[in-house]
Symmetry: C2
Subunit: 324 residues, 2 copies
């Protein structure tokens, strides 16, 4: 077999550097396909190597016929890596020719994992936040805090950013980033000062089975929207009970995480993002509703974006072609 | 992150060329771990791109702690590829550092898929065939016919090979290969002449949901062993009903295939290969039993072998190091 594939390292994918606008459009198109039942996405499968039990490596395949996109993301999450100077998430993503199954592209999956997660939040916000939302609170200001802010600033005319992080230096990094986007920004003392008055709240800390109540009842305003990138980890049950609409990106996967011990005593699910995007379920209906997205991150997000990275890399001459 | 991984193309893996003896030893060690409940192997997950519905791409992860082996095989099976001059199976296999989850090796998965499948048959035969087995029948003489013959000739003092294939040229290829191994070999007219008198039978044709009765009741001798690399596709139900012991490599996966429509009206499962290898279940107990292995092919097989390929490639200086 005389076939080659294009390999893109982390640096290569960064060089390709799709815009957040392109990523959001691609992921939304993916959810449109999913909403119409036109995507094949089996459950992730996982192994858990090493000590401690918190490590995972997930196999995340998806096939989106309309996009001629089929492939898998093989992504590791190792909490202990940060102390070793290694990223929490590492891994690869492969794309297969839908006609003959042969791999034609392989890329480091860190860029896509970061960006598509922010993009999915922004798509949820597009349907669930008030269109005039201008103030955003970011609770925990790491990689996902940055990506979510970037995506939200693409989807909304943001003016003010309030950044809270238990490590003040992290919050200051996000403040600096927000200012580089032309936004007014401040780090707050405590999460409450960030959340009160915000139109959009993003919580993007580490994921724990045992939530730690960083955000409490009564802080989130009427009419606000929250994206819980860290699942339910940083919200008190009473704060979540204020939800008028509690959504996720995939109900099957949400139930699976419930079986694993996450999302205990959370509100009943109102609908899936794909259903909302295609109009089978309504998004926000009143200016008063408190709306939530607890998106889990899907192979669908990845496979909607990856072919665009490949196409642009090919056009730019980035990456290396390798024989199979 | 300043980390690289070793990429091995199909040609590279062929250059490494582990011996079948090494592959059998590694796969048997894998089944020992599995038999003791010390391997983590979630179910395959699958997508089915393209037209026709027979195509699959499987995500096959496995973690074997004792071997410090963790990774995934991402393997496509496209029946239409043969007509396009492409292999039925194509794909990649990734190995992850168990301590930090970072990928350290990636290889074309065709060599390993071919060889470990033959090896698993030979391991089943080691426990289920008569030790003095000397005559083998191979029904359908493609890639797996060759690999199974190679593995069986490693595990037994074979003398005679009877090759049957609906395409006589295919059978002649296997005959030539058998002679190159120093064995007496003939192509037979019809499957019956191959199966009657054989101590070991391997059926290795294409896999169909609707079996086609290539091997019938009364042909398989008392005391013979059969490895059904093509599932139950080429055996009549009455022929299978003669089984005294009907085994598989993984009961969970076997049930899954039953749910998909394979293995209908087959004998009850006696045991799993891992159980037999570690002695929790007995292998052959009398010289008269007809014993069967319907092995499905597991990620365990792949992950038991792949680290050896990596280690030898590194030692030989084969492959190319790529930045993540």
């Amino acid at each position: 077999m005389d076939r080659k594939f294009l390999y893109l390292s982390f640096d290569d994918v960064n060089r390709v550097n799709l815009t957040m606008k392109e990523v959001i459009a691609a992921v939304e198109a993916g959810f449109t396909e999913m909403g119409h039942g036109r995507a094949e996405m089996p459950p992730k499968n996982a192994i858990h190597p090493g000590a401690g039990g918190d490590n995972y490596i997930h196999g995340m395949p998806c096939y989106i016929p309309a996009m001629k996109s089929a492939g898998v993301k093989w992504v590791a999450g190792y909490p202990g890596n940060l102390q070793k100077g290694l990223p929490y998430n590492t891994g690869l993503l492969a794309l297969n020719d839908v006609e003959d199954g042969v791999v034609y592209a392989l890329m480091d999956c860190r860029w896509i994992t970061t960006k598509r997660t922010g993009a999915a939040s922004a798509i949820s916000a597009k349907y669930l936040a008030r269109p005039e939302s201008s103030t955003i609170a970011v609770i925990a200001c790491g990689v996902q805090g940055h990506s979510n802010l970037e995506a939200m600033s693409e989807a909304f005319k943001l003016q003010k950013v309030r950044a809270y992080d238990p490590l003040p230096a992290q919050a200051e990094k996000l403040v600096a980033y927000a200012r580089s986007l032309g936004l007014e920004a401040e780090a707050t003392e405590g999460a409450e000062k960030a959340v009160r008055g915000a139109d959009i709240v993003v919580s993007s800390g580490p994921i724990f089975k045992q939530p730690y109540d960083a955000v409490r009842e009564g802080w989130m305003e009427e009419g606000a929207f929250a994206s819980l990138v860290d699942f339910d980890s940083s919200w008190s049950r009473a704060a979540l009970a204020q939800a008028d609409k509690w959504t996720t990106d995939n109900i099957g996967q949400y139930r699976h995480y419930q079986d694993l011990g996450y999302f205990q005593n959370c509100p009943e699910i109102y609908g899936e993002l794909g259903e909302i995007v295609v109009g089978q379920k309504k998004g926000r209906e009143t200016a008063q509703e408190r709306t939530f997205a607890a998106n889990l991150g899907l192979a669908l997000d990845d496979m909607a974006v990856a072919p665009l990275i490949y196409a642009k890399a090919k056009e730019m001459g980035v990456g290396v072609w390798l024989p199979l």
